[in-house]
Every structure is written in C-alpha cells, then in structure tokens.
Amino acid sequence: EAGVTQFPSHSVIEKGQTVTLRCDPISGHDNLYWYRRVMGKEIKFLLHFVKESKQDESGMPNNRFLAERTGGTYSTLKVQPAELEDSGVYFCASSQGLYYNEQFFGPGTRLTVL
C-alpha cells in the first residue's frame, strides 16, 4: 500500500511569491490533515479535511493560506504571498477514522522563503 506522498519535497521562493504544496493521502482515507513545523519547534496543526469538506481550519495562520481538497482526494495548500515566517516543513497526514486512529504522515515539503 502506498503511503502519503507530498510534492515538492523542497521549495525555495522569494518573499511575495506564491507556492502551492500538494498532498496525496493514502487511498480510502477520508481524513486529511495539514501540519507545519517551524524552526525545529513543535508540529502545529493547520487544518483538517473530511473528504472534501473543511472540518477544522482553526490552525490556519492567516488568509494568505488557502487549502483545497476538490473531489475528496488530493489536497493543495497555497501560500500567497509568502512571507519569511512561512518557512518550515509542511506535513500532510491522513487517517481512516476520526478517533483512536493513527495518522500517517507524508515526507513533508520543506519551504524556504528568502
């Protein structure tokens, strides 16, 4: 069974530019999560999709971040315009059920904003 995949693995952009991250969850997983780890700090929740619906987007930092999951399959996270503090590793995770289930993390996208 294929795991969670993310693209790109690395992205280096300049402040003010736009970047789109993509996540393909494990097939059949309705739950898809985005997390971010900044500068070696804790991993912080960004948002949660159940199929194509946003279940919880309380962790989204501001309106420069836009996440979509059209069709309930893969998801994209767009940052526009990017700021220096957006640098970090963005992880996507998926799970089958909501409660008491492990979340399977993707390899992450390392975003560097210069």
């Binding site: 999560y33 804790e42 991993i43 949660h48 279940q55 919880d56 008491y100 492990e102």
Partner: protein, 110 residues
C-alpha cells in the same frame, strides 16, 4: 486552547543508557499518541494510550499514561544508535487534530 508540554527538549546519552521523555497537560486527555521522527524524516506513529494508568511495551520502549490522564511518559531501556530522533507526544482532540508537545530530541553516543 489545549496545550501539551514535553520535557526535556534535548537529551544526549551514551549508548546503553536509559532515556525518558515526559508529557504533561493541564487538562484531562482522552488519549495520547507517541510519534518518532528520525533526522530528516517524518513523524511515524509508535503507540496510542487510552486508559487511565495504562502501560504498554514495545521491546525496549515503555509507554505510560498517568492515572489522572494528564501526563504520559516514554522510557527507552538501553538506548541504541538506532533510537536517535525526536520523540513527540500528541493529544488527539475531540475534532481529530493532533496537539503535539515540543518534542524531545535524543542523541545517542556510540
């Protein structure tokens, strides 16, 4: 909002020594999960604890959930170089999101 505090932030041990990381919450947790992230890698699920006072073992790893369900610990006996990485505890909220502790980065000197 709910927070999970984890200590220590770093731990350097000699191979063969034991290692423990601790997590605390000011509120009662429904469950707690533990993840390991190898250097340059991604978090990988280790275990989930649900019951008050629960103790689970995986080879040299022992996980505990406090009686009040407000704290948890991970203990590694006789560390090996393969244990290197960052260990995170995470509380699963009632909406399904994980609330991570700050992580403990373990370095093992051979």
């Amino acid at each position: 909002g709910q927070q999970v505090m984890q200590i220590p932030q770093y731990q350097h041990v000699q191979e063969g020594e034991d290692f423990t990381t601790y997590c605390n919450s000011s509120t009662t947790l429904s469950n707690i999960q533990w993840y390991k992230q190898r250097p340059g890698g991604h978090p990988v699920f280790l275990i989930q604890l649900v019951k008050s006072g629960e103790v689970k073992k995986q080879k040299r790893l022992t996980f505990q959930f406090g009686e009040a369900k407000k704290n948890s610990s991970l203990h590694i006996t006789a560390t090996q170089t393969t244990d290197v990485g960052t260990y995170f505890c995470a509380a699963l909220s009632n909406t399904g999101k994980l609330i991570f502790g700050q992580g403990t980065t373990l370095q093992v000197k051979p």
